[in-house]
């Protein structure tokens, strides 16, 4: 089964989860999936989660951290740009208002 076939069988609400967890789940063997289900049925969720994490492969985490760091960098750049723009607008407004205030008090 490939990821698209898996998504086709899921209700719409679960399709975003298939994007996140599907790539790992479709690589799990039948025995692993049976073990996973057994853990879930008896409420041993930590073991079920650990089984999934092992199946995900180690490199997945490192690449996810790389992607996450890149997103932080992008957001921080946007944040810094927005602050610079806000400061410019605030400064311009202050200059105009200061002029008005000074005119009001007759200076």
């Amino acid at each position: 089964m490939n990821l698209q076939e898996l998504k086709d069988k899921l209700p719409d609400a679960l399709k975003p989860l298939a994007d996140q967890y599907g790539p790992t789940i479709i690589t799990m063997t039948t025995a692993e999936l049976q073990s996973w289900l057994n853990y879930v049925f008896v409420g041993r969720y930590t073991e079920a989660y650990a089984l999934y994490l092992k199946a995900a492969g180690n490199e997945v985490y490192l690449s996810e951290w790389d992607q996450e760091y890149a997103k932080w960098q992008t957001d921080n750049q946007a944040n810094a740009d927005q602050i610079a723009m806000s400061n410019k607008i605030a400064l311009a407004l202050c200059q105009v208002m200061l002029g008005i205030i000074l005119a009001c008090v007759g200076l």
Partner: protein
Amino acid sequence: MKRLVLLAVMLLGCLVVGGCSGLQARGPMVAKIDGNAKAALSVILRITETPMTDAEAVDYLNANAATFAEYANAKTVNWFAYAFGDKTIFVTGEYATRLDVAKVLSEETALRASLDPQPTNDWMNAAVKKECAVLVAIRDAKDGKGPGQ
């Protein structure tokens, strides 16, 4: 006179609103974010010279997971919860998502590091380094700094 007061208030408003970061912190959280970023930077430098042992790395990844969880739990997008409630980090929706993702990812990484068969020592050190880089990025977000500023 009323107009003058109104203008003065608007002037003050401009000064206050101008330059607010998308991630703000208050109280002890400010020092925590700064302290964690400073420690993270020294860890990055240390690892580059002398890699951590597996046990050290697992401990560090667990500590990082706790830190990311603390940030995620302390954050809010609601200004009133930040100003008058117990939330100590005020964020935009985008930063809220970033903090939530970092929390989940750090939990998964710490758990994976302690599972048998353990990942290689290189993997452990790389994971620590990458998490530390994000801790520094969080400090930069608070300070309104872009990359390389």
